[in-house]
Amino acid sequence: MTDNPIYNSTAPLTNVGLAISALERAINRSPSLPGMVVYYGPSGFGKSFSATYTANQMRAYYIECKSSWTKKGLLVSILKEMGIAPAHTIYEMTDQISEELVLSQRPLIIDEMDHIVDKKAVEIVRDIYEGSQASMLLIGEEKLPVKLKKWERFHGRVLDFVPAQPASIEDAQHLSRLYATGIKVADDLLAEIHRISRGSVRRICVNLDRVRETACREDWDTVTKKTWGNRELYTGEAPHRRLP
Protein backbone atom coordinates (compact mmCIF):
# COMPACT_ATOMS: atom_id res chain seq x y z
CA MET A 1 0.00 0.00 0.00
CA THR A 2 2.77 2.42 0.88
CA ASP A 3 4.29 1.80 -2.53
CA ASN A 4 1.24 3.22 -4.21
CA PRO A 5 2.08 6.84 -5.03
CA ILE A 6 -1.53 7.91 -4.49
CA TYR A 7 -1.21 7.02 -0.84
CA ASN A 8 2.02 8.95 -0.43
CA SER A 9 0.72 12.19 -1.83
CA THR A 10 -1.97 14.63 -0.78
CA ALA A 11 -4.06 13.80 -3.86
CA PRO A 12 -6.86 11.90 -2.03
CA LEU A 13 -7.65 14.80 0.34
CA THR A 14 -11.05 16.38 -0.28
CA ASN A 15 -9.75 19.91 -0.63
CA VAL A 16 -6.90 18.97 -2.93
CA GLY A 17 -9.45 17.35 -5.20
CA LEU A 18 -11.69 20.42 -5.08
CA ALA A 19 -8.87 22.80 -5.96
CA ILE A 20 -7.53 20.73 -8.80
CA SER A 21 -10.90 20.09 -10.37
CA ALA A 22 -11.77 23.80 -10.07
CA LEU A 23 -8.66 24.76 -11.99
CA GLU A 24 -9.27 21.98 -14.51
CA ARG A 25 -12.75 23.37 -15.16
CA ALA A 26 -11.18 26.76 -15.88
CA ILE A 27 -8.61 25.22 -18.22
CA ASN A 28 -11.20 23.22 -20.14
CA ARG A 29 -13.83 25.97 -20.22
CA SER A 30 -15.51 26.99 -23.43
CA PRO A 31 -14.02 30.20 -24.85
CA SER A 32 -17.05 32.31 -23.99
CA LEU A 33 -16.68 31.63 -20.26
CA PRO A 34 -14.39 33.46 -17.82
CA GLY A 35 -11.22 31.71 -16.58
CA MET A 36 -10.65 32.78 -13.01
CA VAL A 37 -11.60 30.50 -10.14
CA VAL A 38 -11.76 31.65 -6.52
CA TYR A 39 -10.96 29.05 -3.89
CA TYR A 40 -11.53 30.16 -0.32
CA GLY A 41 -11.78 28.96 3.25
CA PRO A 42 -10.54 29.45 6.81
CA SER A 43 -6.85 29.02 7.57
CA GLY A 44 -5.80 25.49 8.47
CA PHE A 45 -8.21 23.87 6.01
CA GLY A 46 -5.34 22.60 3.89
CA LYS A 47 -5.41 25.32 1.27
CA SER A 48 -1.65 25.31 0.98
CA PHE A 49 -1.64 21.52 0.49
CA SER A 50 -4.17 22.11 -2.27
CA ALA A 51 -2.16 24.90 -3.83
CA THR A 52 1.06 22.89 -3.73
CA TYR A 53 -0.43 19.79 -5.28
CA THR A 54 -2.24 21.78 -7.94
CA ALA A 55 0.87 23.83 -8.76
CA ASN A 56 3.00 20.69 -9.06
CA GLN A 57 0.47 18.73 -11.05
CA MET A 58 -0.25 21.54 -13.53
CA ARG A 59 3.19 23.18 -13.46
CA ALA A 60 1.42 26.39 -12.53
CA TYR A 61 3.18 29.62 -11.66
CA TYR A 62 2.60 30.18 -7.96
CA ILE A 63 2.87 33.39 -6.00
CA GLU A 64 1.86 34.30 -2.49
CA CYS A 65 0.78 37.91 -1.92
CA LYS A 66 2.27 40.00 0.87
CA SER A 67 0.39 42.71 2.72
CA SER A 68 2.97 45.29 1.67
CA TRP A 69 2.52 44.66 -2.03
CA THR A 70 1.77 47.41 -4.47
CA LYS A 71 0.99 46.83 -8.14
CA LYS A 72 4.68 46.71 -8.86
CA GLY A 73 5.43 44.21 -6.11
CA LEU A 74 2.86 41.84 -7.53
CA LEU A 75 4.17 42.16 -11.09
CA VAL A 76 7.83 41.79 -10.18
CA SER A 77 7.08 38.67 -8.14
CA ILE A 78 5.18 36.98 -10.94
CA LEU A 79 7.96 37.79 -13.42
CA LYS A 80 10.56 36.42 -11.04
CA GLU A 81 8.58 33.22 -10.76
CA MET A 82 8.58 33.03 -14.54
CA GLY A 83 12.31 33.65 -14.71
CA ILE A 84 11.92 36.85 -16.72
CA ALA A 85 13.81 40.08 -16.06
CA PRO A 86 11.16 42.73 -15.29
CA ALA A 87 10.76 45.71 -17.63
CA HIS A 88 10.59 49.21 -16.17
CA THR A 89 6.97 50.26 -16.33
CA ILE A 90 3.86 48.65 -14.93
CA TYR A 91 2.39 48.61 -18.40
CA GLU A 92 5.33 46.73 -19.90
CA MET A 93 5.49 44.25 -17.04
CA THR A 94 1.78 43.44 -17.38
CA ASP A 95 2.43 42.75 -21.05
CA GLN A 96 5.44 40.56 -20.30
CA ILE A 97 3.37 38.42 -17.94
CA SER A 98 0.39 38.16 -20.26
CA GLU A 99 2.61 37.14 -23.15
CA GLU A 100 4.36 34.45 -21.15
CA LEU A 101 1.03 33.06 -19.92
CA VAL A 102 -0.30 32.91 -23.48
CA LEU A 103 2.84 31.24 -24.83
CA SER A 104 3.46 28.75 -22.05
CA GLN A 105 -0.24 27.92 -21.54
CA ARG A 106 0.56 27.34 -17.89
CA PRO A 107 -1.99 28.46 -15.25
CA LEU A 108 -1.32 31.05 -12.55
CA ILE A 109 -2.05 30.51 -8.86
CA ILE A 110 -2.28 33.57 -6.62
CA ASP A 111 -2.39 32.71 -2.93
CA GLU A 112 -3.28 35.03 -0.04
CA MET A 113 -5.33 37.21 -2.37
CA ASP A 114 -6.83 38.92 0.70
CA HIS A 115 -3.65 40.93 1.05
CA ILE A 116 -4.15 42.77 -2.21
CA VAL A 117 -7.91 42.72 -2.57
CA ASP A 118 -8.36 46.02 -0.74
CA LYS A 119 -5.80 47.71 -2.94
CA LYS A 120 -5.54 48.71 -6.53
CA ALA A 121 -3.21 45.77 -7.11
CA VAL A 122 -6.30 43.66 -7.63
CA GLU A 123 -6.93 45.54 -10.88
CA ILE A 124 -3.58 44.32 -12.15
CA VAL A 125 -4.77 40.74 -11.76
CA ARG A 126 -7.72 41.60 -13.94
CA ASP A 127 -5.47 43.28 -16.51
CA ILE A 128 -3.28 40.19 -16.66
CA TYR A 129 -6.36 38.07 -17.15
CA GLU A 130 -7.69 40.34 -19.89
CA GLY A 131 -4.33 40.27 -21.64
CA SER A 132 -3.88 36.52 -21.49
CA GLN A 133 -7.26 34.85 -20.86
CA ALA A 134 -5.12 32.47 -18.80
CA SER A 135 -6.68 30.12 -16.28
CA MET A 136 -6.12 31.37 -12.76
CA LEU A 137 -6.72 30.01 -9.29
CA LEU A 138 -7.14 32.76 -6.69
CA ILE A 139 -6.86 31.56 -3.12
CA GLY A 140 -7.88 33.38 0.02
CA GLU A 141 -9.64 33.40 3.34
CA GLU A 142 -13.31 32.85 4.03
CA LYS A 143 -14.31 36.45 3.26
CA LEU A 144 -12.55 36.69 -0.10
CA PRO A 145 -15.70 36.32 -2.29
CA VAL A 146 -17.43 39.08 -0.33
CA LYS A 147 -14.42 41.36 -0.60
CA LEU A 148 -14.18 40.74 -4.32
CA LYS A 149 -17.77 41.86 -4.79
CA LYS A 150 -16.61 45.44 -4.42
CA TRP A 151 -14.69 45.06 -7.65
CA GLU A 152 -17.59 44.58 -9.96
CA ARG A 153 -15.59 44.23 -13.12
CA PHE A 154 -13.48 41.61 -11.44
CA HIS A 155 -16.39 39.62 -10.15
CA GLY A 156 -17.73 39.08 -13.65
CA ARG A 157 -14.57 37.28 -14.71
CA VAL A 158 -14.90 34.58 -12.10
CA LEU A 159 -16.02 31.21 -13.40
CA ASP A 160 -16.63 29.69 -10.03
CA PHE A 161 -16.35 30.31 -6.28
CA VAL A 162 -15.23 27.13 -4.59
CA PRO A 163 -15.34 26.87 -0.77
CA ALA A 164 -12.77 24.63 0.93
CA GLN A 165 -14.45 21.95 3.03
CA PRO A 166 -13.71 20.89 6.62
CA ALA A 167 -11.58 17.74 6.79
CA SER A 168 -13.67 14.58 6.68
CA ILE A 169 -13.00 11.42 8.65
CA GLU A 170 -11.64 9.91 5.41
CA ASP A 171 -9.22 12.84 5.19
CA ALA A 172 -8.13 12.11 8.77
CA GLN A 173 -7.58 8.45 7.82
CA HIS A 174 -5.46 9.43 4.87
CA LEU A 175 -3.45 11.93 6.93
CA SER A 176 -2.83 9.22 9.47
CA ARG A 177 -1.35 7.03 6.71
CA LEU A 178 0.91 9.93 5.71
CA TYR A 179 1.94 11.27 9.09
CA ALA A 180 1.58 8.48 11.64
CA THR A 181 3.99 6.19 9.85
CA GLY A 182 5.11 3.03 11.59
CA ILE A 183 2.18 2.99 14.00
CA LYS A 184 -1.53 2.28 13.85
CA VAL A 185 -3.87 4.95 15.12
CA ALA A 186 -7.07 3.17 16.15
CA ASP A 187 -10.40 4.37 14.79
CA ASP A 188 -11.65 5.66 18.14
CA LEU A 189 -8.59 7.84 18.68
CA LEU A 190 -8.68 9.05 15.09
CA ALA A 191 -12.34 10.00 15.50
CA GLU A 192 -11.41 11.92 18.64
CA ILE A 193 -8.59 13.72 16.81
CA HIS A 194 -10.95 14.52 13.96
CA ARG A 195 -13.53 15.92 16.36
CA ILE A 196 -11.10 17.99 18.39
CA SER A 197 -9.41 19.42 15.28
CA ARG A 198 -12.75 20.82 14.04
CA GLY A 199 -12.17 20.35 10.33
CA SER A 200 -8.64 21.71 10.32
CA VAL A 201 -6.17 19.65 8.30
CA ARG A 202 -3.32 21.44 10.02
CA ARG A 203 -4.52 20.53 13.52
CA ILE A 204 -5.06 16.92 12.50
CA CYS A 205 -1.45 16.81 11.27
CA VAL A 206 -0.12 18.34 14.48
CA ASN A 207 -2.08 15.83 16.57
CA LEU A 208 -1.04 12.84 14.49
CA ASP A 209 2.57 13.89 14.80
CA ARG A 210 2.13 14.18 18.54
CA VAL A 211 0.66 10.68 18.69
CA ARG A 212 3.48 9.29 16.54
CA GLU A 213 6.16 10.90 18.71
CA THR A 214 4.64 9.61 21.93
CA ALA A 215 4.13 6.16 20.42
CA CYS A 216 7.82 6.04 19.48
CA ARG A 217 8.85 7.05 22.96
CA GLU A 218 6.49 4.64 24.71
CA ASP A 219 7.10 1.85 22.20
CA TRP A 220 3.46 1.43 21.19
CA ASP A 221 2.45 -0.23 17.91
CA THR A 222 -1.23 0.63 18.08
CA VAL A 223 -2.62 3.67 19.81
CA THR A 224 -6.24 3.56 20.92
CA LYS A 225 -8.17 6.16 22.84
CA LYS A 226 -7.50 4.12 25.93
CA THR A 227 -3.71 3.92 25.42
CA TRP A 228 -3.65 7.63 24.78
CA GLY A 229 -5.53 8.22 28.03
CA ASN A 230 -5.84 11.83 29.08
CA ARG A 231 -2.74 13.08 27.32
CA GLU A 232 -3.39 16.39 25.65
CA LEU A 233 -4.42 16.89 22.05
CA TYR A 234 -3.94 20.14 20.16
CA THR A 235 -7.15 22.11 19.80
CA GLY A 236 -5.67 25.31 18.40
CA GLU A 237 -6.99 27.25 21.36
CA ALA A 238 -4.80 29.09 23.83
CA PRO A 239 -4.11 26.84 26.82
CA HIS A 240 -6.38 27.22 29.83
CA ARG A 241 -4.82 28.08 33.11
CA ARG A 242 -5.92 25.76 35.86
CA LEU A 243 -6.32 27.61 39.10
CA PRO A 244 -7.08 25.84 42.31
Binding site: T10, T52, E99
Partner: protein
Protein backbone atom coordinates in the same frame (compact mmCIF):
# COMPACT_ATOMS: atom_id res chain seq x y z
CA UNK B 1 30.10 31.55 -16.83
CA UNK B 2 33.14 29.39 -17.34
CA UNK B 3 34.11 28.82 -20.90
CA UNK B 4 35.34 25.31 -20.40
CA UNK B 5 34.41 22.67 -22.92
CA UNK B 6 35.25 19.33 -21.39
CA UNK B 7 36.57 16.80 -23.86
CA UNK B 8 34.36 13.88 -24.77
CA UNK B 9 34.62 10.88 -22.50
CA UNK B 10 35.84 12.96 -19.57
CA UNK B 11 32.91 11.92 -17.42
CA UNK B 12 29.68 13.74 -16.84
CA UNK B 13 29.84 17.47 -17.26
CA UNK B 14 28.78 19.58 -14.30
CA UNK B 15 25.27 20.89 -14.99
CA UNK B 16 26.19 24.55 -15.23
CA UNK B 17 28.37 24.16 -18.27
CA UNK B 18 26.40 21.31 -19.71
CA UNK B 19 22.92 20.80 -20.97
CA UNK B 20 20.94 23.23 -18.93
CA UNK B 21 22.55 26.52 -19.74
CA UNK B 22 23.31 25.72 -23.34
CA UNK B 23 19.77 24.68 -24.27
CA UNK B 24 18.47 27.85 -22.67
CA UNK B 25 20.91 29.97 -24.65
CA UNK B 26 19.96 28.23 -27.92
CA UNK B 27 16.23 28.50 -27.21
CA UNK B 28 16.39 32.22 -26.34
CA UNK B 29 18.34 32.89 -29.53
CA UNK B 30 15.80 30.96 -31.59
CA UNK B 31 12.98 33.00 -30.03
CA UNK B 32 14.75 36.19 -31.00
CA UNK B 33 15.55 35.13 -34.57
CA UNK B 34 12.32 33.21 -35.35
CA UNK B 35 13.68 32.36 -38.80
CA UNK B 36 17.23 31.12 -39.25
CA UNK B 37 19.72 28.75 -40.80
CA UNK B 38 21.91 26.58 -38.60
CA UNK B 39 24.93 28.67 -39.56
CA UNK B 40 23.28 31.93 -38.49
CA UNK B 41 22.04 30.37 -35.32
CA UNK B 42 25.47 29.06 -34.34
CA UNK B 43 26.92 32.53 -34.91
CA UNK B 44 24.30 34.22 -32.76
CA UNK B 45 24.39 31.64 -29.98
CA UNK B 46 28.15 32.04 -29.90
CA UNK B 47 27.80 35.70 -28.93
CA UNK B 48 25.87 34.60 -25.89
CA UNK B 49 27.68 31.49 -24.79
CA UNK B 50 30.35 29.13 -26.05
CA UNK B 51 28.41 26.17 -27.31
CA UNK B 52 29.57 23.21 -29.31
CA UNK B 53 28.18 23.32 -32.88
CA UNK B 54 26.97 19.75 -32.57
CA UNK B 55 25.00 20.66 -29.46
CA UNK B 56 23.19 23.38 -31.39
CA UNK B 57 22.46 21.02 -34.29
CA UNK B 58 21.21 18.27 -32.01
CA UNK B 59 18.89 20.59 -30.06
CA UNK B 60 17.50 22.05 -33.30
CA UNK B 61 16.79 18.52 -34.48
CA UNK B 62 14.95 17.70 -31.25
CA UNK B 63 12.89 20.87 -31.57
CA UNK B 64 12.04 20.05 -35.16
CA UNK B 65 10.96 16.52 -34.26
CA UNK B 66 8.94 17.87 -31.37
CA UNK B 67 7.01 20.19 -33.69
CA UNK B 68 8.55 23.43 -32.45
CA UNK B 69 10.39 24.22 -35.68
CA UNK B 70 9.44 23.98 -39.31
CA UNK B 71 12.20 23.14 -41.79
CA UNK B 72 12.43 24.13 -45.43
CA UNK B 73 15.23 23.52 -47.94
CA UNK B 74 16.86 26.64 -49.26
CA UNK B 75 18.82 27.23 -52.50
CA UNK B 76 21.75 24.97 -53.02
CA UNK B 77 25.00 26.32 -54.36
CA UNK B 78 27.09 24.07 -56.58
CA UNK B 79 29.20 21.72 -54.55
CA UNK B 80 27.83 22.90 -51.24
CA UNK B 81 25.66 20.87 -48.89
CA UNK B 82 21.90 21.35 -48.92
CA UNK B 83 21.03 24.12 -46.49
CA UNK B 84 17.90 24.30 -44.41
CA UNK B 85 16.04 27.25 -43.01
CA UNK B 86 14.04 26.85 -39.83
CA UNK B 87 11.04 28.79 -38.61
CA UNK B 88 9.83 28.83 -35.04
CA UNK B 89 6.23 27.61 -35.17
CA UNK B 90 5.64 26.78 -31.52
CA UNK B 91 6.92 29.38 -29.10
CA UNK B 92 6.21 28.14 -25.59
CA UNK B 93 7.75 31.03 -23.66
CA UNK B 94 11.05 31.59 -21.87
CA UNK B 95 11.49 28.07 -20.61
CA UNK B 96 13.48 25.99 -23.07
CA UNK B 97 11.65 22.74 -23.96
CA UNK B 98 13.48 19.72 -22.53
CA UNK B 99 13.22 17.05 -25.17
CA UNK B 100 14.46 13.58 -25.89
CA UNK B 101 16.20 12.77 -29.14
CA UNK B 102 12.87 11.90 -30.76
CA UNK B 103 11.35 15.23 -29.77
CA UNK B 104 9.09 13.98 -26.98
CA UNK B 105 9.29 15.87 -23.68
CA UNK B 106 11.49 14.36 -20.99
CA UNK B 107 10.41 14.01 -17.37
CA UNK B 108 13.99 14.39 -16.22
CA UNK B 109 14.38 16.79 -13.32
CA UNK B 110 10.65 16.85 -12.63
CA UNK B 111 11.00 15.61 -9.05
CA UNK B 112 13.61 18.24 -8.28
CA UNK B 113 11.43 20.91 -9.85
CA UNK B 114 8.49 19.84 -7.66
CA UNK B 115 10.67 19.85 -4.54
CA UNK B 116 11.88 23.38 -5.20
CA UNK B 117 8.39 24.66 -6.01
CA UNK B 118 7.05 23.05 -2.82
CA UNK B 119 9.82 24.56 -0.70
CA UNK B 120 8.84 27.99 -1.99
CA UNK B 121 5.15 27.40 -1.28
CA UNK B 122 5.39 25.77 2.15
CA UNK B 123 8.27 27.97 3.37
CA UNK B 124 8.50 26.04 6.64
CA UNK B 125 8.60 22.24 6.70
CA UNK B 126 10.43 19.08 7.63
CA UNK B 127 11.50 16.52 5.06
CA UNK B 128 8.40 14.42 5.52
CA UNK B 129 6.06 17.38 4.90
CA UNK B 130 8.16 18.19 1.90
CA UNK B 131 8.12 14.73 0.39
CA UNK B 132 4.36 14.37 0.93
CA UNK B 133 3.47 17.80 -0.44
CA UNK B 134 5.87 17.61 -3.39
CA UNK B 135 4.59 14.21 -4.58
CA UNK B 136 2.09 13.87 -7.37
CA UNK B 137 0.65 10.68 -8.82
CA UNK B 138 2.78 11.04 -11.92
CA UNK B 139 5.94 11.91 -10.07
CA UNK B 140 6.30 10.84 -6.44
CA UNK B 141 9.22 12.28 -4.47
CA UNK B 142 10.94 9.85 -2.13
CA UNK B 143 11.57 10.86 1.48
CA UNK B 144 15.28 10.22 1.06
CA UNK B 145 15.45 12.59 -1.89
CA UNK B 146 13.60 15.29 0.04
CA UNK B 147 15.85 14.81 3.06
CA UNK B 148 19.10 14.97 1.10
CA UNK B 149 17.94 18.10 -0.72
CA UNK B 150 17.06 19.81 2.60
CA UNK B 151 20.46 18.97 4.04
CA UNK B 152 22.43 20.41 1.14
CA UNK B 153 20.20 23.50 0.82
CA UNK B 154 20.71 24.13 4.53
CA UNK B 155 24.47 23.77 4.14
CA UNK B 156 24.39 26.23 1.27
CA UNK B 157 22.50 28.76 3.42
CA UNK B 158 19.22 28.51 1.46
CA UNK B 159 17.33 26.97 4.36
CA UNK B 160 17.54 27.97 8.00
CA UNK B 161 17.16 25.26 10.61
CA UNK B 162 14.21 26.37 12.72
CA UNK B 163 14.38 23.36 15.00
CA UNK B 164 17.28 20.90 14.95
CA UNK B 165 16.48 17.21 14.81
CA UNK B 166 16.14 15.27 18.04
CA UNK B 167 15.56 11.55 18.43
CA UNK B 168 11.98 10.96 17.24
CA UNK B 169 11.62 14.50 15.86
CA UNK B 170 12.63 15.66 12.42
CA UNK B 171 14.55 18.87 11.84
CA UNK B 172 12.40 21.77 10.67
CA UNK B 173 13.60 24.08 7.95
CA UNK B 174 12.59 27.48 6.66
CA UNK B 175 13.39 28.99 3.27
CA UNK B 176 15.38 32.18 3.66
CA UNK B 177 13.50 34.99 1.90
CA UNK B 178 16.39 36.23 -0.22
CA UNK B 179 17.12 32.69 -1.40
CA UNK B 180 13.93 32.44 -3.38
CA UNK B 181 16.09 33.01 -6.43
CA UNK B 182 13.75 31.94 -9.22
CA UNK B 183 11.86 29.13 -10.89
CA UNK B 184 14.71 26.75 -11.53
CA UNK B 185 15.74 24.36 -8.78
CA UNK B 186 19.29 24.66 -7.46
CA UNK B 187 21.12 21.56 -8.57
CA UNK B 188 23.27 19.29 -6.47
CA UNK B 189 26.31 18.44 -8.51
CA UNK B 190 28.87 15.76 -8.23
CA UNK B 191 31.88 16.86 -6.19
CA UNK B 192 29.40 18.00 -3.53
CA UNK B 193 28.48 21.43 -4.70
CA UNK B 194 25.26 23.34 -5.24
CA UNK B 195 24.64 25.24 -8.46
CA UNK B 196 21.81 27.77 -8.77
CA UNK B 197 20.77 28.09 -12.43
CA UNK B 198 18.74 31.23 -11.64
CA UNK B 199 21.94 33.00 -10.64
CA UNK B 200 24.15 30.91 -12.90
CA UNK B 201 26.53 30.44 -9.99
CA UNK B 202 27.96 27.71 -7.81
CA UNK B 203 26.60 28.86 -4.47
CA UNK B 204 28.22 26.32 -2.20
CA UNK B 205 30.89 23.71 -2.40
CA UNK B 206 32.26 21.40 0.16
CA UNK B 207 35.80 21.68 -1.17
CA UNK B 208 35.74 25.44 -0.71
CA UNK B 209 34.70 25.11 2.89
CA UNK B 210 37.35 22.56 3.65
CA UNK B 211 40.02 24.64 1.92
CA UNK B 212 38.95 27.54 4.10
CA UNK B 213 39.98 30.08 1.49
CA UNK B 214 36.66 31.94 1.54
Amino acid sequence: MTEVKPAKGMGRKPAHIGHYGTQDAIWQTIREMECFTIKDLICRVDQRLKVNDLTVKSYVQRLERGGYLDRIDVGQRAGARQEHAYTLIRNTGVEAPRLRRDGTPTAQGKGREQLWRTIKILREFDWRDLSIAASTEKCPVAEGTAKAYCVILAQAGYLAVVRPSRPGTRARYKLIGSKNTGPRPPQVQKLKQLYDPNLDKVVWSQAERQGGDQ
